[in-house]
């Protein structure tokens, strides 16, 4: 198969070069790996020559916007992100490896393909044009615990969970702004990693202004030191005033077909005194969502523990 790569120099050309069989490339951290394994489509539209997609901009009262091609490392280390959106900075700092963060983009992270070992091993499944999920009936040890639909692979975007807690808006070059959650919908379509059209390009994410002094927390449950896909991960933002929680945002990854915000947990936290006891009880408020698969029952137990640890870190 001949692989054709194009290097458009503006969004319109990029959009025109794209169709359902092509893939956009920014950092290329995942696409290059899939090319080597022979599990990519073979048409690449490289966006690195499109201007205006990089950078963190302060919009004053309107918040902060981050260009889609801004690297994860740049987001993690940006002073504006660190002070106003600490949960995003911590999440960006906590994912993958330093080398991946140095090259991988925030847009690419949001829209990346699932890491399911069946999909990546070249097995036929919903996402590779098939009509079944071999993981559901096969080995799904790292699959979802909140079963939203036919595909049982958890969504891999940690940045997605972080953007959810900040009520982030995404902008594409063709259509109107929309909440970041609409990138993924309810996770019931097993063929999609995201719901953008084939010619649609995310240009930036917009984080609304937050009160000064907010805290952030991020925790991923893994078996080793670092650099491992999360079994469960949680992102937390807290605004604590006089010991009481004035505002809370909680989202999780690793458990569902989409990153998930958990308003029921936030509700338990609001107005309460920030104590370890509260964190443990509130973090169990999401348990009702769990419908684990035969091999993912442990994730139901881990969900509360992970949220609770993220809350502790945010408050600590």
């Amino acid at each position: 198969m001949t692989i054709i790569t194009t290097f458009p120099e503006n969004l319109d050309d990029a959009s025109r070069s794209s169709d359902a069989t092509s893939e956009f490339r920014l950092g290329g951290t995942d696409l290059q790996a899939r090319l080597r394994r022979g599990t990519s489509s073979g048409r690449i539209v490289d966006l690195t020559r499109v201007p205006g997609l990089v950078g963190v901009r302060d919009l004053g009262p309107d918040g902060v916007e981050i260009g889609a091609a801004t690297t994860i490392a740049a987001v993690a280390s940006h002073p504006l992100v660190q002070t106003r959106y600490p949960a995003l900075a911590l999440t960006a700092r906590g994912l993958a490896t330093p080398q991946v963060r140095a090259v991988g983009s925030i847009g690419g992270n949001l829209l990346q393909k699932t890491r399911c070992w069946y999909l990546r091993g070249g097995h036929a499944c919903f996402k590779s044009g098939g009509d079944t999920c071999p993981a559901r009936t096969g080995n799904h040890l790292y699959g979802v615990a909140i079963d939203q639909g036919p595909c049982v692979a958890p969504h891999p975007s940690s940045i997605g969970a972080a953007l959810l807690v900040y009520d982030t808006i995404i902008r594409t070059h063709t259509r109107s702004d929309r909440p970041v959650a609409e990138l993924w919908g309810d996770g019931s379509d097993p063929t999609r990693d995201h719901l953008l059209g084939p010619d649609e390009i995310v240009t930036l994410v917009l984080l609304p202004r937050v009160p000064d002094g907010e805290r952030g927390g991020y925790f991923r449950s893994i078996s080793r030191f670092e650099a491992e896909w999360p079994l469960v991960e949680a992102v937390v933002r807290l605004h604590i005033l006089d010991g009481r929680i004035k505002h809370a945002g909680v989202a999780v990854g690793g458990v569902a077909n989409t990153p998930l915000r958990l308003p029921e947990v936030e509700q338990e936290l609001l107005g309460e005194l920030a104590t370890d006891g509260l964190f443990e009880s509130a973090s169990r408020a999401a348990d009702h969502r769990c419908r684990p698969l035969p091999q993912t029952g442990y994730k139901a137990a881990l969900l509360g523990a992970t949220i609770s640890e993220a809350l502790r870190r945010a408050a600590g």
Binding site: R36, A102, W117, P134, L141, Y142, R224, A227, A301, L302
Partner: protein
């Protein structure tokens, strides 16, 4: 097409690219910068790290088109004006490497980190946590992590800035490895070289009706060969069917896609409870001929055993076996509390050396054959190749100057060698075949999964009264696992019976893996002994001292018993979220030697040269030989030229069975002493050497002072007298909320006699502990139960230990008791890892009251166990 201009190691380059290429391939294949290694291909392991405008980047996942306008530095460009970077010196001096394959990536990243750190913090020590965090994108399968940690931290402290003397450490080839100049088989590129790929079975079980290579040739293959066995049956996903060669890997792959394989799929046996598999159908090896062809996962020749269906065995060792069975049955019936029974299991562990299986074959028009192979056994492989291809042994040369790890996976004639030689013969051009990471992780070699039932019965005095151990091993299509059979070597003389079964499946075959059978046996036996100590209310070390008659191990028990952490174990926290515990395990291992090993020492061009047909896969064989020779002449080991890595040298041992050092070390000493007699005593000056140019002496390993267990040699291997011993004490911390286990400290005591090169021996022993941590907590091959395909075919899903997973390690050597062996010591590479997982299991039991039975002890299993 796209033009890319960049600066690479200071020189301007203009590259014309198609646009999809990854940087590592451009560097290695187009620019010949082979210091940068390709390992995982997915940005997990960091072996391919370069800097782009000063930022470390994994070049395997970096589009080469992104290099436009950048400044790139590879390992080859790290030294300035011929002076090594302080980090390169640090890796040499602190020995932050073994096989060296991951080293260029580590060094490039560490150099950037150290420069940055010192600019911000001056010459201060960042501590291990910060270093591990900075290097989280790197993996070292040898697990030379303690040396890496020491190297980076000492470089941060500014201890390696002095460039007035050459960098020298305990490993004589270290400079080659830290500069990227060490050439591995994957780096070989000959004129006109073709690239070969293997076409593998997609079926777990099928009869191959037809293989049509012609369309592959039409699609551009320069050569195409079939690799099927005579029965034309494939028995696991990934079994080789054919191979094709093309001008490059892409050409070979598209030609491979064109080859027609008509497979008649058959039902397959995949996974499931191994004890139940005797009744499974279809039978994997049906009939005597098929059974004789079954691959063998052991190093040693097999003892014949019975087959029933998909079960082979038992291979039984007994001493008053029926009495043992009766005693245990009666104790079980009576509910005797001094009967301890455990049913434990271990998962398939994969070797995954970072240099994959690789071969470059050059078959000229004559009957002479030159083959570069990433192998642990140049001498042995040359014999096997000669036999396989019907060539005189002296016409085959196998070369392996540097070997990027093996761990037992590279001891035999495997598909990449046969494919490369066959393709080269057909194409009459050099052909290289290199496994990709998915192949390496699927079919490159594995330690069989095991299921063991163990029963230990103590009498009223607390002595061992009976032992019964039964293991069912799942090595896929392979046979020959010995696990239970190792149990009688350790404790006492009570009645005992042990049985080993192989249960067959249509999954990839096992191969020897560092102490074959040993870690699974220890996982069963040492946990059962620990449980017995709890049952009897006795200290676990005190119990072992009573049961274990081995004098050398008694010295280790004394040492372990005196460790402050062991003494303080009763005061550890056993409530709350984080629990800490300490566990102990003992192990012993056979002493293997290759008595035919020979070493030649000569004066050549004014230098002392030592030669043997051994190889160095990171275990330090070169340095052992250099050290032995240097000691005789009173010179620096770095001034001895060691010629290994070619089968043309005098008979050398395989690097397996912990036999290399004990086979070549004393032999090198003896040869050196003979040469010393020729050239006389006194300082070894250039003038003196010049006067003896051409002088040569040769020695053969020969016999020990006392007889061996086996009076004859099988496959160049004899079992010598005495057992090597080890005792491991591990400390763990368990997060009961998340199920995460951290092994915080491990003490390893080794009774292997005199140590040849202490720094390298310590590195081996520490690395064995870290690999043991991987076996205990992370490593597990997963299969698709429907197709039999390996799901963990990448280094994200197959989890090996990182730098940050390394515990703090202390190594203790008991050096006495091996006077009957020339050199006074035996091998340690295997005994040093056997008991590690078991000691961790016992520590988990101590910390939580819950005994883990299945490996690896994943977070989900911890949560389940503590629920």
């Amino acid at each position: 097409m796209v033009d890319v201009s960049c600066t690479i190691n200071g020189s301007r380059q203009t590259l014309t690219l198609l646009g999809h290429e990854s940087t590592v391939d451009v560097l290695r294949d187009d620019l010949g910068l082979t210091g940068t290694k390709l390992v995982c291909g997915s940005g997990v392991c960091g072996a391919c790290t370069i800097t782009v405008d000063g930022t470390p980047t994994a070049s395997c996942i970096l589009p080469a088109s992104s290099l436009n306008g950048t400044e790139v530095t590879t390992i080859e460009g790290l030294a300035t004006n011929g002076s090594l970077h302080p980090v390169q010196r640090a890796f040499v001096v602190e020995d932050g490497l073994q096989c060296g394959y991951c080293t260029p990536g580590f060094v490039v990243e560490a150099a950037a980190f150290v420069d940055h750190w010192r600019a911000e913090h001056g010459n201060t020590d960042p501590g291990s946590h910060i270093v591990a965090d900075a290097l989280a994108g790197h993996l070292c399968r040898c697990a030379a992590y303690p040396g890496i940690d020491a190297a980076v931290r000492s470089a941060c402290r500014g201890e390696h800035d002095d460039i007035s003397s050459p960098a020298r450490g305990p490993r004589v080839e270290a400079v080659e490895k830290v500069t990227g100049s060490a050439r591995y088989t994957t780096d070989i590129r000959l004129d006109g070289q073709l690239e070969g790929v293997i076409i593998r079975s997609e079926n777990a079980h099928a009869l191959i009706r037809r293989v049509d290579l012609a369309p592959g040739v039409a699609a551009g293959a320069s050569a195409a060969v079939e690799l099927l066995g005579t029965d034309r049956t494939v028995r696991y996903v990934g079994q080789p069917i054919a191979a094709v060669a093309g001008v490059d890997r892409a050409a070979a792959r598209s030609a491979a896609k064109a080859v027609i394989v008509e497979a008649e799929s058959r039902e397959a046996v995949i996974g499931g409870d191994p004890r139940a598999r005797v009744l499974s159908r279809p039978i994997v090896h049906d009939g005597r001929a098929a059974r004789r062809r079954a691959p063998i996962s052991a190093e040693n020749p097999l003892v014949p055993a019975r087959w029933i269906g998909n079960r082979r065995g038992p291979s039984t060792i007994r001493w008053r076996g029926m009495r043992a069975v009766r005693r245990i049955a009666s104790a079980r019936k009576k509910g005797d509390t001094r009967l301890v029974e455990l049913h434990v299991a271990t998962s398939v562990q994969v070797h995954t050396p970072l240099e994959p299986h690789a071969c470059v074959a050059l078959w000229p028009a004559t009957d002479r054959l030159q083959v570069w192979v990433s192998t642990q056994a140049v001498h042995h492989i040359a014999k096997l190749i000669a036999k396989h291809f019907g060539l005189p042994r002296e016409n085959v040369e196998v070369i392996a100057h540097h070997v990027g790890g093996g761990f037992g996976a590279k001891l035999t004639l495997t598909a990449e060698v046969i494919a490369a030689v066959e393709l080269s013969r057909q194409a009459q051009r050099p052909v290289r075949v290199v496994y990709d990471r998915a192949e390496e992780l699927s079919v490159g070699g594995l330690r069989p999964a095991t299921d063991t039932h163990i029963a230990l019965l103590a009498d009223a005095a607390g002595s061992l009264r009976a032992m019964e151990v039964t293991t069912h091993a799942d090595g896929g299509v392979s046979i020959g696992s010995t696990v239970a059979g190792l149990a009688p070597m350790v404790y006492g003389r009570s009645p005992r019976i042990v049985r080993d079964y192989d249960v067959l499946a249509h999954t990839p075959p096992g191969t020897p893996f560092r102490g074959p059978g040993g870690p699974p046996l220890a996982w069963a036996l040492e946990q059962a002994v620990d449980e017995m100590a709890i049952t009897l209310g006795e200290d676990p070390i005190a119990l072992r001292r009573r049961w274990d008659g081995n004098r050398r191990r008694h010295a280790l028990y004394d040492w372990a018993d005196a460790l402050p952490a062991w003494r303080a174990r009763h005061d550890m926290v056993s409530a709350g979220r984080f629990r800490r515990g300490v566990g102990v395990a003992a192990a012993n291992w056979l002493y293997f030697v290759d008595p035919g090993s020979e070493v030649t020492v000569a004066v050549r061009e004014g230098q002392i040269v030592a030669s043997t047909a051994a190889q160095d896969m990171g275990t330090g064989s070169r340095s052992v030989i250099a050290g032995a020779v240097a000691e005789v002449f009173g010179i620096d080991p770095h001034d001895v030229l060691v010629e290994i890595g070619s089968s043309k040298g005098p008979h050398g041992p395989a690097s397996g069975g912990s036999r290399t050092t004990v086979s070549v070390g004393p032999t090198a000493t003896e040869a050196a002493m003979k040469l010393r007699q020729t050239i006389g005593d006194g300082p070894v000056t250039p003038a003196r050497l010049a006067g003896h140019e051409g002088a040569t002496a040769k020695a053969q390993r020969g016999k020990d002072k006392r007889m061996r267990l086996t009076p004859f040699t099988i496959r160049d291997l004899q079992v010598g007298r005495g057992f090597s011993g080890a005792v491991h004490v591990s400390e763990v911390e368990i997060d009961t909320h998340t199920g995460k286990i951290r092994v915080t400290r491990v003490w390893g005591g080794l009774a292997v006699g005199k140590i040849a090169v202490p720094a390298l021996a310590r590195s081996q022993c520490a690395a064995s502990i870290i690999q043991g941590v991987g076996f205990a907590l992370y490593e597990q091959r997963h299969l698709d139960p429907a197709s039999g395909a390996v799901l963990t075919a990448n280094l994200e899903d197959y989890r090996i230990p990182q730098l940050g997973d390394s515990p703090e390690i202390t190594i203790h050597f008991h050096e006495e008791g091996w006077d009957h062996v020339p050199g006074g010591g035996v091998g340690l590479g295997e005994v040093a890892t056997l008991g590690v997982a078991a000691s961790i299991g016992n520590a988990i039991r101590h910390a939580t009251g819950w005994r883990p039975l299945e490996l690896p002890v994943r977070p989900d299993r911890v949560l389940e166990g503590l629920r």
